[in-house]
Amino acid sequence: MGGATIRAATLPKYPEFPMRLLLSALFFMLSALASSAQDLQSLLQENAAQIAKPSRTSIGIVLDQMVATGLPQVPAFLEEWSDKNVWQDEATGLFYIATEGDDVLTLTDIDTGAQTTAPVDGFQQLKPNGGVRRVIGTALVQFQLIDPDTTRRTAALESIARRPEASQLAPLIASLDGEADPVLRTRKANLITILSARFAEDPADRIAAIEKLAQETSVETRAVLNQILATKPGVATELPEANIAVQHDPMTDPDGFYAALVAADLAQPLTTPAAIRAAMEAHIVDGRVGDVPVAQLHTDAARARAYAALAAAGTVPPLLGEPERNNALRSHVFYDAYIEDDPAITAAARRALDQVENAVALAQTVDLGLDALSLASIYFLAAIGLAITFGVMGVINMAHGEFIMMGAYTGYVIQLFIPDYTIAILVALPVAFAITFAAGVTMERLVIRHLYHRPLETLLATFGISIALQQLAKNIFGTQARPLTSPAWLDGAWIISDVIQISYIRIAIFFMALFFLALILYILKRTRLGLEVRAVTQNPGMAASMGINPDRINMLTFGLGSGIAGIAGVAIGLYAKVTSEMGADYIVQSFMTVVVGGVGNVWGTLAGASLIGGLQKGIEWFNPSNTLAAQTYMILFIILFIQFRPKGIVALKGRAAAD
């Protein structure tokens, strides 16, 4: 806001500028014909003092003259001048474009382009200051806008967008018809609207442009509208004749508004407790301050009495306290006034901004939805393996997070050996699956097999494995985060608008989650293994009596769940850091996902991941500064959620669920 105010404040100088430019151009075209001064050097020599020591305020006229000559060498000269490549021969006073090298200057004649060399001594480099260079730049814009080189036109438009000025409007409009490049043409039209909204002569043109801006949601549009709506706070005894944006009730922030009064020299600062205290200390007479013994000055009331006595004696200024402050506030009006004087324009801008902000809010909701979706995909990937083992075997695997970590480190190690990141990731996915599959099967054979029917002990034993694996990773890879770099084609983001954008990695993770959802559904519903897994889940005893080997099924299921954790690790490692503790960061969320979704059901896990991902993003949106608070509230929500659906969103019903 502050920046906008300052910039708007420098505005009134410019509106007459284009008119003057056109007039002087006309004049000099005529005079050029008359004097037939066809070389730039002579024009420069006429204004040699101005060129050598230019000032921002007066250089404009000289520039107008140069532009008016219509000489083809003018833009090049202006650029070199701006880039400090113009030197003046101290003896002859002639200007040259020069490049410096080893005490020798290579001089280029401004008009003919003939090159000579000369020693640096005897030449003076022209160093126009920043203000002058800006004015030169503005003059250059009209040349650049019609430059045959597309990149230069693009650069000119960028420079206008960065620093929009009234003077640019006319050349911009003039260049529009000749523009052949469709992209640049759109951009020019867009900039014309933006510039017209701010600088057009006719208020009707401005309003029309503003209304056009209301159709867009870009950051640039919002900035323009906000600049038009820039306000300046003011205070007065009566509301002045101005385009008032808002009048404040000073009692909403009495101290703040009183500070404004003091700053405007309309009031004296209040007597602060520190000032009272200083007054006490400065006026102790015989152990008393204004008849009050020093020892009694430990209450505000006593100090007030003592101060009043001092003030009555005239030793200190009278006390300015809350009543005085309130009186002062009541006798003034506090307002924000638009810097733009025309209420019709500010009203139009306000309407347009409201419309834009509505559209932005809608876009933000969509963006939030996409964010939630990608978070849900990550939670789903992290939790689905856990859900399988928990659902099928009733086993909580606390080391699941460490399997995720193992997968991520696998990706990191493979990248050390395969420099091509795309190939590395493609190799890492199956290798991570294989490694964590093997780790899962090993763990099932060595530990979990012996602990069926003792679920709490499984929880603790796998926790033991979890801390051992975590420390092992720390010992091998160190405590600092290791990078898992995504291939270049996954860098960047899919930008739909200034508000809605989503990084390619997250999109990739989303599709990965979809793929694994499909794969797991396929395995469970369409394969022999899936049939046997479902049989063991629903009735292990019956399954065993039908010739299914529950031991083998358990082993494979555990391997599958662990293997998916490894793949999730590669995915998570791509967008987060790979550390030995990364598994622990996801384990509680994964448990939540499984519990909220409902055990033993892929769709349940999907629902749980969506709910938790959406919830977390939703809470973050309400309280964007604080992800810690968002997580706290989310967990509290889950604890309450469990109250109402103890079996999760997708609950198994019937006698199978009763046990």
């Binding site: 603790l460 420390q471 519990v595 604890i639 109250q643």
Partner: protein, 388 residues
């Protein structure tokens, strides 16, 4: 009444005798009251260990006896620590502020004193306002009440919600873990009013005892911790003896059967969950003045899991097992991680225990769970059972 209770539970007498002997020995060897063979910092370590033993027996009652694998009792421990820490920090800061303000020519107003204290305590989180939860921090009595009330109330509300909806087994464990995580995440925030991740510090300085050397303070806290452990042991031994013990262990072994016998299982679980939470809070209130500092990291879910590990290694379902587990593992842990254990040179690799201790602990925990479900305490069965 108590005679018969102790007569029926001879292990209580044995435990009290051992604890008394240990306490007496440490007192004799300490710097403040004895010949100085045990350093002040080691007295503190021992005192802290006794507090850990106290929370371990609470954990044993709730898990080993009642079958609720709570992964949240260290949160109650931490709340106890925060509750007493608030008074310690407030009172000590007040002393410092008053003495620094005393040098001024004009006596300070209550507001000035409060501002100065607030500035001292909350300056690190960019505030000087006293949050609402510090309302009673100037009163030792009220903060001591908080040590008991807040863990108790939290356990009561959480337990009521969880048990009422029949959340059991691993679900309950995960839910308690979530509660712990929520609490620690909350405390990590700067605007939680408890100084965010800075936590509370300087707790080893006891207001009113500025002149007392730390050696003396350490032995006083050691004795208090020993007394609390002894009292807690007798209390829990009494609770789990007799019919209450029967019902509680019945709930552990077959909850549905107990329910069909007409017992309101939820009420029993709630009772056990809450009293163990309160004892955990008391243990925390004794622990943190000896540790000197408390921060939200102490409450993280991992701490509660370690608590379960101690109890499992010591032996569930017997109170002395929990004590042995907590003392053994926590002292061993500080020996290994403190660099006390000698490195092992394998020629091609040197095992540094500071790096490898957790690996060893994790694996030994797996082995204990698999092959020694009764833990270290199980060894006593061989000694005790022989005569009969």
């Amino acid at each position: 009444m108590h005679n018969s209770f102790i007569a029926r539970n001879p292990s209580v007498l044995w435990f009290l005798a051992a604890l008394g002997l240990f306490t007496f020995g440490v007192t004799l060897l300490s710097e403040a009251t004895g010949i100085g063979l045990i350093s002040t910092s080691f007295v503190k370590t021992l005192g802290k260990t006794l507090c850990l033993c106290l929370i371990a027996i609470a954990m044993d009652v709730v898990w080993g006896y009642c079958g609720i694998l709570s992964l949240g009792h260290f949160a109650f421990f931490g709340i106890g620590g925060y509750a007493i820490g608030m008074w310690l920090m407030y009172a000590r800061t007040e002393t410092i502020v008053l003495s620094s303000l005393a040098g001024q020519t004009i006596p300070a107003t209550p507001q000035e004193i409060s501002d100065a204290i607030g500035n001292q305590i909350f300056g690190v989180v960019g505030s000087s306002e006293f949050p609402l939860i510090w309302a009673f921090s100037d009163s030792l009595v009220l903060q001591l009440a908080m040590v008991v009330l807040i863990p108790g109330l939290l356990a009561l509300v959480f337990g009521w919600l969880a048990f009422r909806s029949r959340v059991t087994g691993v679900y309950l464990s995960i839910l308690t873990q979530a509660m712990t995580l929520a609490l620690s995440l909350y405390l990590f925030q700067n605007d939680s009013g408890l100084r965010g991740n800075n936590g509370l510090s300087g707790l080893q300085n006891i207001p009113g005892f500025e002149a007392t050397p730390q050696a003396t303070i350490s032995i006083i806290f050691f004795l208090a911790s020993a007394f609390a452990l002894g009292a807690g042991y007798v209390f829990f031994a009494w609770v789990i003896s007799g019919k209450m013990g029967s019902v509680v262990q019945g709930i552990r072994d077959n909850e549905a059967r107990v329910r069909f016998l007409g017992y309101q299982v939820e009420g029993y679980k709630l009772f056990i969950f809450t009293i163990t939470a309160i004892v955990s809070g008391i243990a925390g209130a004794l622990y943190y003045p000896q540790a000197g500092i408390i921060n939200p990291g102490e409450i993280a879910p991992i701490a509660s899991i370690y608590l379960a590990v101690w109890v499992a290694i010591g032996g569930r379902g017997r109170l002395y097992g929990a004590v042995i587990g907590a003392a053994f593992v926590s002292l061993l842990s500080s020996w290994f991680t403190g660099g006390g254990a000698p490195d092992i040179n394998l020629g091609f690799y040197t095992i540094q225990w500071t790096d490898w201790w957790l690996v060893l602990l994790g694996l030994s925990f797996v082995i204990v769970t698999l092959y020694f479900p009764k833990g270290i305490g199980g060894l006593f069965d061989y000694l005790v059972r022989k005569p009969s």
